[in-house]
Symmetry: C2
Subunit: 302 residues, 2 copies
């Protein structure tokens, strides 16, 4: 029996992950459910956007899949920066991306995506990553997250936790603030090795996301919240907006190439404050420790 | 008696405007005052950032001046897109920029800036503009604003309200949303005519900003607010964030060239909501009329 082509297998993996991750997150939330918006791309393909809003635990969570194809838009050809003899005329891309914004300032925000890409110039590759953005530093949370991700990488010869942890630290960085987005994770792109081996790794990493993240939310969501912590939370969410709109390649590329805007910007936190020059949190608090961490050099967590 | 150089005269004009505009806005607010943050640019120059926060009328207002100079940063040279034989090695830039975010969803947000630029390649020019962003459409407000600006332009041969109104409509437009930012105003750049005449125009326009805008706030600030209007207000403020962070040249250029981040991002609205795919306001409301306006072709207001 012949195996399905890689594009179909990747798309199917992402669909399964979307289902299982939404189920686990909705169960933890207990109040709100994920909606479903299927959309079509006129030039070819489409996606399924699943968003939970105003939950008991999650103020906003989005788990989106898409598979799009067709003539390669000029912006895409530019974006890929391939050698002239490999500039594609058609492309195929599929992926899953997710973001969780808990209500509690004590629980971290979480982002992940996995993606697969093909062009007609016989180039195909995988990319992805995940990262954690706390608002207060709990070193055991950061270590748990990194350990689960590291262990998923360790089971696959195609994965390199050390290198990808560094790539993540460099990518999720706001140059104009001189600040890391959070405690990092892993980031990888243009992974052109054995596709079967990479897909197996992506499946393993995808299945590790729930145990890497949800226990941290469960652990922190019941902690009482002061008005100062709430304000700090909304101010730091502003940094998330700055990163996604000013820097994030996926967001900017999606907006430039006519992607579905509501799906792309589902990543933005639901409530945000942009206060002018706010005072830092008091010394000795986990919020201040977080600020000191993101303005300092990257740290090892696993 | 020899006249001071244009750079000093422009800087002095912007400082006087900052003082008079802050005085008028603080008087209307009645509760909060403008703070003052003077800052230095290590490579040459500096500025004075004046921000009012948590006022009775204005939730956030910023009126900033700066005058900066020195070796032309590579990003600036790129940004200017001058012919190769006029690529500058040094520059001088001074300007005033202001933003007012009223508390009431019935009162519009207002932005304006005036600027003067010199390079060592004997090029000097003026730029500027102003635009109004309502959350509910009141055609008489839009007309008042445009009429005052049109009249200031009409008194000066160097000004062209019609052309600059069109430039403003094209500039303050979010391509990924297919939406105008609001009801527009004027936008002009690279004004290289007689500097004395342009400065006189800038003074006239600068002095027209208070009578163009503050009466609209005064007229609307007492109208009762429903929870739906409040939510719509915060959602539309999200569009302002999208525009400034994704598209606005001044904001992006400032962040890329190491400007003072808190001064640049003082333009962002204080509280914002990014809800996924929110329902439009009901038909027949001023809020829906605003949405229909910004998603339609530009309209003439004066």
């Amino acid at each position: 029996m012949q195996e399905a082509p890689m594009r179909a297998r990747a798309e199917a993996l992402y669909a399964r992950l979307q289902e299982s991750i939404c189920t686990a997150a909705a169960r933890l939330d207990g109040r709100a459910a994920f909606g479903q918006d299927a959309w079509d791309r006129p030039e070819g393909g489409g996606g399924l956007t699943r968003v939970l809003q105003d939950g008991a635990v999650f103020e906003k969570a989005a788990v989106n899949v898409s598979a799009v194809w067709g003539p390669a838009p000029p912006a895409l050809v530019e974006h890929l920066r391939l050698p002239d003899d490999r500039r594609p005329t058609t492309f195929f891309a599929t992926g899953i991306s997710m973001i969780f914004h808990p209500r509690s300032p004590h629980a971290p925000t979480f982002h992940a995506n996995l993606r697969y890409f093909e062009t007609d110039t016989e180039v195909s590759w995988f990319g992805g990553g995940c990262d954690l953005t706390p608002y207060a530093l709990h070193p055991d949370d950061a270590s748990h997250f990194h350990e689960v991700v590291r262990d998923a990488c360790a089971r696959h010869a195609v994965a390199d936790y050390r290198a990808w942890k560094g790539w993540c630290d460099r990518y999720f960085f706001l140059p104009h603030r001189g600040e890391a987005r959070g405690v990092g994770g892993v980031f990888f792109d243009h992974l052109t090795g054995d596709p079967d081996a990479v897909l197996a790794f992506q499946q393993d990493l995808g299945e590790a996301l729930v145990p890497a993240y949800l226990p941290l939310v469960e652990r922190r969501m019941g902690t009482p919240v002061t008005p100062d912590q709430e304000r700090w939370h909304l101010q730091r969410r502003g940094r998330y907006v700055e990163f996604n709109l000013v820097h994030d390649r996926g967001t900017r590329f999606g907006l430039q190439t006519g992607g579905r805007v509501e799906s792309i910007l589902a990543s933005l936190p639901p409530r945000v404050r942009f206060d002018y020059d706010p005072a830092p949190p008091p010394e000795g608090t986990p919020e201040r420790a977080l600020l000191d961490l993101v303005t300092g050099p990257p740290r090892d967590w696993a």
